[in-house]
């Protein structure tokens, strides 16, 4: 029978949640790396036992952990993230130049085909690659070499490269998103990059439709339609039908179009999920009601999913890497909150239940569907 493994990164350690395909009884293991921030964990699509984790603290810096048994045991691997050449400057919060400084790894994206190959999105924003299972890392220099880096600025969480999507039909095509710079696309495996932000409008920058400078919070793609991208921006939910060449707003009838997480149903490319958050300063659901919104039309028309979610006095946030889907026939949707709950729906969002509800603040959720 199939199994599901949910990888949960929190402010104070990592947890793995496992269930059979019914997804009604869950085993909770952890905390692994207790006391450390786990910004992200992700399993290799080519080998489910290979899992990477980003482990850091303000005390001891960054470590990368690797598991070869599905997250039961771990080995620290390479943690030297050296920017290529002279790092240069980006904009600081106050608009002054600020030197590029490595802070942490926000996101790990294992290769679709090679368990030893993995990309890392870091703060201050850059893309790194390892080809030896995380033992050594080198910057993918073409991204910052695009030349717009001096105009990039931090979002509230830091200047992070938080989203990496590799086109499953063309591994030479890679999308990344940076807060606050925007979306960049490479069509040559990372050698060269260009911004793909046409159609985005952001009030926090002098030129609202500038080529770069947008605070993109998250991108999502369905593997069967890699030219269609969904975006949760700082404000606005956006859609592109041409691999980022142009974007259109699909916020439609959402109660607020601010938010962080966005994902796509595993079998329905037009079914999209977001968790609306009240505003850029009030990082909690509107009216204290935790609602996932689902669109079955690729945006614009949204329905609130509330069955099993708290509908009063709920003031948690759902961060950008904290939503994921499984690929079972009845698609499972999962998300974690800053209140430490991990909610799951085994019926594509119709009903929800907490798998676990008192973890440290959840930073990331990933799902592995195991045969």
């Amino acid at each position: 029978m199939s199994q599901v493994r949910v990888l949960v990164g929190t402010r104070k350690g990592a947890f793995t949640l496992t269930s059979d395909g019914r997804r009604d009884n869950w085993d909770v293991a952890g905390p692994y790396f207790a006391g450390w921030e786990i910004y992200h964990m992700k399993g290799s699509p080519a080998d489910a036992n290979r899992v990477y984790a980003s482990q850091s603290t303000g005390w001891f810096g960054q470590l990368i952990q690797r598991s070869d048994d599905g997250g039961v045991t771990w080995e620290p691997v390479g943690n030297e993230f050296r920017y290529d050449g002279v790092p240069g400057t980006h904009q600081w919060y106050d608009g002054t130049p600020h030197p590029w400084e490595f802070a942490r790894v926000w996101h790990l994206e294992p290769s679709l085909t090679d368990p030893d190959s993995v990309l890392a999105g870091v703060e201050d924003a850059a893309l790194f690659r390892s080809s030896d299972g995380g033992r050594s890392w080198g910057e993918v220099p073409g991204l910052r070499g695009h030349g717009s880096g001096p105009s990039w600025q931090p979002g509230a969480g830091g200047m992070c490269l938080h989203t990496i999507i590799v086109d499953p039909s063309d591994p030479e095509r890679i999308f990344v998103a940076i807060s606050a710079a925007g979306v960049f696309r490479s069509d040559d495996g990372g050698e060269t990059w260009r911004p793909v932000n046409k159609g985005l409008h952001s009030e926090g920058i002098p030129d609202e439709d500038a080529e770069v400078g947008h605070c993109v919070h998250r991108l999502a793609m369905h593997p069967s339609r890699p030219e269609v991208l969904y975006m949760q921006k700082h404000w606005d939910v956006m859609r592109s039908d041409d691999a980022g060449e142009s974007w259109n707003e699909v916020s439609g009838d959402l109660p607020t179009d601010f938010g962080f997480a966005i994902d796509v149903h595993a079998h329905e490319p037009e079914t999209v999920y977001v968790v609306p958050i009240k505003s850029d300063s009030e990082h909690f659901p509107p009216d204290g009601r935790l609602r996932v919104y689902r669109s079955r039309t690729g945006g614009n028309e949204w329905e609130a999913l509330t069955n099993g979610l708290p509908q009063s006095n709920c003031y948690v946030n759902v961060l950008r890497d904290a939503m994921a889907v499984d690929s079972l026939d009845s698609c499972g949707i999962y998300f974690g909150t800053t209140g430490g709950q991990v909610y799951a729906s085994a019926d594509a969002g119709d009903t929800w239940a907490p798998i676990v509800r008192d973890l440290p603040a959840v930073l990331s959720v990933e799902v592995q569907t195991l045969a």
Partner: protein, 98 residues
């Protein structure tokens, strides 16, 4: 022989349960002690000092004999009491961390 006391998280990472003892060739300094520590316990590499800049991490402090050595030059000789093993070289996570 230099005795080094590590904070709990680094003891876990190094898989040790108590203070560690290091043999140092030549004059013991902060740099040579950390070099020896990282060589013996590779998971600690980069945790006390940035692996690229080699600078002490801002939230790491070095104490010995009730003195703060954090701002001593990395190649300055360690105090005699540390060199003789009478006192440990203590690595501390700053109060503000965690």
């Amino acid at each position: 022989m230099i005795r080094v006391v590590l904070p709990a998280h680094l003891r876990t990472l190094a898989c040790v349960t108590r203070e560690v003892e290091l043999e140092i060739t030549g004059q013991p300094t902060q740099r040579s002690v950390i070099d020896a520590l990282e060589a013996r316990y590779p998971p600690l590499k980069g945790t006390l000092r940035d692996p690229v800049t080699q600078k002490r991490r801002a939230f790491i402090r070095f104490f010995a004999s009730e003195e703060d050595l954090s701002h001593e030059p990395p190649d300055a000789p360690l105090p005699d009491a540390v060199v003789s093993g009478a006192e440990p070289f203590i690595v501390i996570g700053a109060m503000a961390g965690g």
